[in-house]
Symmetry: C2
Subunit: 291 residues, 2 copies
């Protein structure tokens, strides 16, 4: 509570001198752009997703467009495998019998946005090198990411809470259906799927989404058991008074980097024997504060 | 459904010639010993835990003893951090203000059982070498485990669903309270905690356990929000008619090993670009079948 109040004061100070980039850089939190936040209202509670137009501009544009036409309202999480993903949207491709959704509109076909090349080293807070699935991992504005050896390519990592677009076998076949990672990071999906956001609030709600039949690829035996999307909205379309004020821990500050270093070394006496000094990019919490 | 029936038939064939070790070895599933199964009945559903006396004999003995004295019945999950652990038992150590529980009875103090030395290579199904946190990882009777370079020491890995005993700073201070891993594997806890079992049924129920206040180390602001343990029982104490018949995928069969190899190579055309041939020990599902 005290910490919350201190943060609020720190934040208000930043806002009151909002044109000072220096102050904003020193802050340990950032207020996300409401035009890049989705409010995913489920029948079991609210989930907030931060979109990532840096890595997936076309997907973000499409998801916002679909959201604004109320495309998702009333649809369900129809394929949910505990420990893996919760997938929502229209339906699955019955012919295929697996995760691929029925393409409702060919015009919506999206090109895969699985990696970018224009990330400076400054924007990347190194976490681990080498990682088991990449030359290195690190954070970019709160998103877990990975890079190749010469830093020429960067992609987002499939950590719990990330949201990606489902697709058919061919890479450029995503249209409307999305999945949220709800279990141990399926890193083998890195850079072959498009991740376009991550849950920044309400991951406990996501974990309450009903699971389907794992033996039938997560599809429900009883369609009445699916969890329903009441509504998705772009936060900036919601009256200010109904928005939740959140701020998200920055991952590019000295403070965050020293937190990573402490996490690696585990100085607490609880670690009577020190673990290997390795960090899993998907096992580092990034704090969201409601103020 | 068809697979289930086939499995059931295969199983019945095994049982009908139940003294043939050969048949049992060839089966892809095993029926767990009900004396090593705990039925954890929560107010939100049933969870089944397989105990591991091979790695943690004293912990298993104590947990069964406490279970049979109804010690846990009516207690709650009082410290729950989404993406990390759900901890249950008596209470936390208020002085410490962190995860350590109040020691209710010093006589119960358990020695840490964090590694064993007597595992043959035959019992260990290799998954990955090197792994980010160990020289190698693999399965031992369905449990994720890790080893050092010369295979002289083996320990269990903190994968989602494992159950371990909470302790204070000193290693030999565990007594009654336990935690279930509910998020990305906290591998840094490997071999400094005692893992004594894993959830083999009802992980979706575990994920519905209410979360506490992450900013207060998972403790609840409102104690009424905690999820309650109605009852824990040793399965063999329950009338046969009330037991759930489960069988668990074996991890020492050729079939399982070829599944691992396929998982590593990802031959499906969905992988239009093949991922690195690495496997995360905590990202491999081990099937439980209800029959």
């Amino acid at each position: 509570m005290i910490i919350r109040i201190i943060l609020l004061i720190a934040l208000l100070l930043c806002i009151s001198s909002s044109n000072s980039a220096e102050n904003i850089n020193e802050s340990l939190y950032r207020i996300p752009n409401t035009d890049n936040l989705l409010y995913l209202e489920l029948d079991i509670g609210l989930v907030i997703i931060e979109l990532n137009p840096l890595f997936a501009p076309k997907h973000v544009t499409q998801i916002k467009k679909l959201t604004r036409t109320h495309f998702y309202d009333g649809l369900t999480f129809y394929r949910v495998i505990d420990g893996f993903v919760a997938q929502a949207g229209t339906s699955i491709d019955e012919d295929n019998g697996s995760q691929y959704f029925k393409i409702t509109n060919k015009l919506l076909l999206l090109p895969i946005e699985n990696q970018i090349t224009n990330i400076t080293n400054k924007a990347f807070s190194l976490v681990q090198s080498p990682d088991m699935f990449a030359a290195k991992t690190g954070f970019i504005a709160g998103f877990g990411s990975a890079r190749n050896n010469d830093d020429s390519i960067t992609w987002l990592t499939h950590c719990p809470g990330v949201i990606g677009m489902s697709r058919n076998n061919a890479p450029n076949t995503a249209t409307t259906d999305f999945y949220i990672v709800i279990g141990q990071a399926p890193r083998y999906l890195d850079s072959i799927m498009t991740i376009f956001g991550r849950v920044v609030y309400g991951m406990d709600v996501v974990q309450k989404i009903n699971r389907g039949n794992a033996k039938n690829n997560g599809v429900f035996d009883d369609a009445n058991k699916t969890t329903t999307i009441k509504k998705i909205s772009v936060a900036s379309d919601i009256p200010k008074s109904e928005q939740l004020n959140i701020m998200i821990e920055r991952t590019d500050t000295m403070s965050f980097k020293s937190k990573l270093s402490k996490r690696r070394k585990r100085p607490s006496p609880f670690f009577y024997k020190k673990p290997p000094q390795a960090l899993d990019i998907c096992q580092i919490p990034i704090e969201t504060v409601v103020f």
